[in-house]
Each structure stands twice: as structure tokens, then as C-alpha cells.
Amino acid sequence: MTLLRNILIRLLTTAITLFGVAVIVFVVIRVVPGNPIAMMLPPGATDADIERLQAQYGFDKSIFEQFVIWLGGVMQGDFGTSISLRQPVADLVLGRLPATLELSIFALVIAVLIGGALALLGTLYRDTKGEAAVDVSAGMALSVPDFLWGLVLILLFGVLWPVFHISGRISPSLNIDFTTNFYMFESLIRLRFDVWADLVAHMFMPALALAIPLAAIIAQLLKQSLKETMHLDYVTLARTKGYGENHVITREALPNAILPTLTLVGVQFTFLIGGTVIIERLFSYEGLGNMAIDAVINRDLPLIQGIVILFALLFTLVNLVVDMLYVVLNPKLRHA
């Protein structure tokens, strides 16, 4: 009963959030200077041509009228037509979404693996030079933003020691027809490991660039909560039972120490998704972020709206998943 109510409240707040985002984006991109029609017209177009096109896209109406018309379409699943690409926005955006999702999740996995391993090592070697080494590397990783890491990686593994692909999502020479846009997922299911390896070779550097700052945050925070947990009585009690340091850290301390980190990872993961916009551009990766930049350059208003709404939806979903995980991992919240 309460669960159902919580879900309903959650859905309602999500809807309100998305509506707010839609209003803000809709108004802002129409108020800032720059005319989408002007971008489309060949030199020497007459005023009559401009007016005709403006009417065709509905830009002659007031912003409020335009919003009501657009919202009416959205309610029926129609997000309008892209001005620059001349295709339905919904198709374009949903076609690109899997590429960005795969990149973000791959980056998240790398960040959790690296950050988690560093945190555990730092705890195992706490108060020694080992922990200092973890702190120093985390500090360095954090003080450089993700796009600069991208450039560094391109220089290292694309130019000096070219082991990874520096642009695109997949090698064009590969002979495979995908039925979905989840290339990684699909290639694994179809057991095309050659294709999967090629995808990883493309995705690894942008994912790593996105992952490095997040890995540093995870390493720092998780190590801190682990170290605090290691002083607690139940950890001491486990030691007296004959358990060694590794067991004590991973089995006794970790399940409790992970909770604050989980909340932070949720928030940081949305930043990571935001970071894909620049990283995808840097690595010419065919995802939503890359499309967003093109849409802004071309002042493709319907496409910008669609992409922003989708990003907002992603963010709220990530927060929802984190909240649910939190309840699963913390027994105290289960019956509340």
C-alpha cells in the first residue's frame, strides 16, 4: 500500500520535473538570439520566403501558443520534426540513446572497478605510504576535467602507442547488421566477439576519460567510510573470531560503508552523462551528446527540446534506481 503510494508520488514528481524542464528549455531557446530559419535559407531569399517557412514551422505564433501545440504533440508521442535532419525527433533521439547509454554505463563500470579497487587497497594499507599513494593519484585524477583526460588518452593510446581507436563507435569495415542500437549488448548476445572487441576498442578511451574523475571520487569517499567502519565494534568482534584483514574489510565493513558512496555515485553518474556531450564530440562518437552539439549549432529547436527532455528523464531515472538500491542494501529502510 505504502509502496504503491510511494511509486505514484515518484511518478508524479517526475512528471512535474519534466514539465518544468520542458517549459524552461522551450522558452530559453526561443528567447536567445539566433533564428533557425535564417540558418536554412539560401542567400538571396525574400521576406516572403522567410515568412512562409516561419509559418510552416509555427514560429510566427507566440511562444505560449507554440508550447501548447508542441505539448499536445508530445502527449501523443510526437516530439516534432528536426529542422536540420528533416526526420521525426523521437526517432532520431531514441536511435542515438543506446549509444550514449552504453558509453555511460561502460564508463560507470570502469569507474566503480578502479575506484572500488583503490578504496580497498587504501583501506588495507591505511596509515602507510600505500594509502598516501591512493590519495595522491585520486587527487591528480580529480584535478583534471574529463575532456582533458580525453586529450591525454588520445595522445597516449591513439598517437604514441596506438592500441585503441580514437574516433567513431565501430569500424565501418565490419560486416554486421544490427537490429537494435545497443551494439555492445547485441554483439554479445549474437556471440560476435570480434565485433564486441572492436566496439570496446572504440569505446574504451572515451569511457575511461569519463570514468577517471568519478573513479577518484569513489576511491576517496569509499576509503574514508571504510576506514571509519573499521573502528566499529562489530569489525573488532569479527577479528576475534579468527577472520583475516581481507575478510574483515570486504565482508564486514564494505556492506555498511558502501551506502554513502552509493548516494554520491548516483549524483555523480548524472554528471557523467552530462560529460558525454563533450567527450562524444571529442571522440566523434555517434551518441546523443554529439547530436546535441550539432542541434545547438544548427539552432534545431525541436531536436534540442527532445534531447534535453530525454536527458532530464535519464537523470530522474538514475536517481530512482539509486533510491531503490539504497533500500535493498540498507535493511533498516526495508520495512519503513
Partner: protein
């Protein structure tokens, strides 16, 4: 005089700093209860931690022997030492609210070590846990085994920790102020329970407390600790009749009597404290190279 646990001239200090334990010697005989009393900061808990190998990292054992069942623990490598303590000794901790892992159910917290460390079959370990929970008078033990710590009261949790301590039939139990964190009404029950379990399982018990009243109820012998130094080791009867050390006598005199509610509290006189401080200083002078 040898015992099941025998500590010989144990000296512990802060790495490169202050002395925590000064030349401590004490003996806990098989099946007997040895009280360890002293004020806060006297180093009572540190003795228990030194035996169990859970001293804080900032401390180091400078010298001395900790002989458990005939073997000096200091000579063993860490892994063997851990295994031996896990198999033959157990801790009843001070604060039942923080001594159970909040993310695990009670059952596994009792049974896992039997399976992991001592190699019991899982079914045997679970049967043993149920039996022990019944022994410590927990109603509906099967349900408690499935509960999380936060669903149980402090008294219940302390009973669980006592049951857990006796799970592997250890020959030595170290109880570190096991009633300090509990309500006064629960304290008595828990004290009686520890006493009952100790005599039924014929375990040696090192009972760390600051409460002489508690010591008089459960202990056979005791040591009085001041500033990390044992000032008196005695059997109970002799101690309460005729304490030898002036500090012990002052400590006894300072114990409040509940029969006289108007009686004022007697502090340990400053002259006694000066005397015992002088002894500690003299000891440090002799120990210095």
C-alpha cells in the same frame, strides 16, 4: 602458578610514546572468573585487546608473554595466532548496539564463523545457534535468527552476543564491561546470565569492569589496575576482607552503598593517588634504559 591464560610482564605503549600497560602480569585459571578492575583509562580494556590481538594500530607490544593454553601467542605468526584465538577464546563486547553488523541477519552472525573458521557443516552450526539462543533465554529463537540487529532491544542483543561468544565452546571468554552500556534493570539479568553460562560451560572468564560491586558477585580472583600497572592481584575473599594496597582499600571505600541513600560519595584520597602515581613513576625509572 600457571593458568589457562597467563600474562607475563606485558608492556604496551603508544608507538614512540606514552606507556599504556606497565609490566602487567595476571593469571586466569581454567573454569575460573578473574576480575580486572580500575578507573577509566587504566588500561583494563587494552589487556583484553592485547590477548585477542585487536590492539589499535598505534599501539605496540614492547615486551612480555601472553600464554594461552601453554603457547606464547607472541611467538606465533599472525595467521596462526588469529586461528588459535578464534578457536579457543571469545569476546563479549561492551556495547551491544554497535557490536552486531547492522547489514546482516542474526543467524549468520552466529553461525558463519563456525562454518568459515572451524569447518562445521552449516546445518550443525544452525542447530547450535538455535540451542544457544534458547540457553540465553531468548523467546522464539528461530524468528530472532532471521531478524536484523535494529529490530531487537539492547538486552536481547547482549544475550545474542553472549550466545555467540559461547558458540565455539571457547576455553576463555573476555567480557569487556559487558553491562556498562545497559539499563540498570537489564544489567543484573545479563550479569546473572554470564555467570550461569560460565559455570555451565566451565569456561575461564576475564571480566573487565570498573564496578567493584559487580566483581564481588561474579569473580573468584581479581587484579586492580592503575595507570597500566597491576597494583594488587588477590582472591576475592581476601581482597574484600583485607585489601593490601592503599589504592585498593581506597577504591573499596569509595564504592557507594545502596543501603544508605543519604550517605555521601567518598572519593579516593589525594594522598593515595600521589602514592600510586609515585610507584608508577619509580617503575618507569627502573624500566628506562
Amino acid at each position: 602458578m600457571s593458568g589457562y591464560l597467563s600474562i607475563r610482564n606485558l608492556t604496551v605503549r603508544l608507538k614512540g610514546g606514552a606507556m599504556i600497560l606497565r609490566d602487567v602480569s595476571l593469571t586466569v585459571r581454567a573454569g575460573q572468573v578473574h576480575g580486572l578492575v580500575g578507573e577509566s583509562g587504566a588500561g583494563k580494556s587494552m589487556i583484553g585487546k592485547a590477548v585477542l590481538g585487536t590492539l589499535p594500530r598505534a599501539l605496540e607490544v614492547v615486551s612480555g608473554q601472553i600464554i594461552l593454553d601453554g603457547t606464547d601467542l607472541q611467538t606465533l605468526d599472525p595467521k596462526e595466532r588469529r586461528r588459535r584465538i578464534g578457536a579457543s577464546a571469545a569476546l563479549i563486547p561492551q556495547d551491544p548496539l554497535t557490536a552486531l553488523n547492522p547489514s546482516k541477519r542474526i543467524g549468520p552472525q552466529i553461525t558463519r564463523r563456525l562454518v568459515d573458521i572451524l569447518g562445521w557443516p552449516k546445518i550443525a552450526a544452525e542447530a547450535r545457534a538455535l540451542e544457544l539462543l534458547e540457553e540465553v533465554h531468548i523467546p522464539d529463537p528461530a524468528r530472532v535468527m532471521r531478524s536484523y540487529p535494529h529490530e531487537l532491544s539492547g538486552g536481547m542483543r547482549q544475550r545474542i552476543l553472549i550466545a555467540s561468544a559461547f558458540a565455539a565452546e571457547p576455553k576463555l571468554i573476555i567480557a569487556d564491561e559487558p553491562t556498562t552500556a545497559l539499563d540498570v534493570t537489564v544489567q543484573k539479568q545479563i550479569l546473572r546470565l554470564i555467570s550461569e553460562m560460565q559455570s555451565r560451560h566451565d569456561t575461564a572468564l576475564l571480566f573487565v569492569t570498573h564496578d567493584l560491586g559487580v566483581v564481588s558477585k561474579v569473580c573468584d580472583t581479581l587484579s586492580v589496575l592503575y595507570a597500566g600497572k597491576v597494583v594488587e592481584e588477590a582472591n576475592m575473599h581476601r581482597f574484600f576482607m583485607r585489601p593490601i594496597h592503599p589504592y585498593s582499600a581506597a577504591l573499596l571505600a569509595a564504592t557507594p552503598t545502596y543501603t544508605d541513600p543519604t550517605g555521601s560519595l567518598t572519593p579516593v584520597p589525594q594522598t593515595v593517588i600521589d602514592g600510586v602515581e609515585r610507584e608508577v613513576a619509580e617503575h618507569d625509572m627502573r624500566a628506562a634504559p
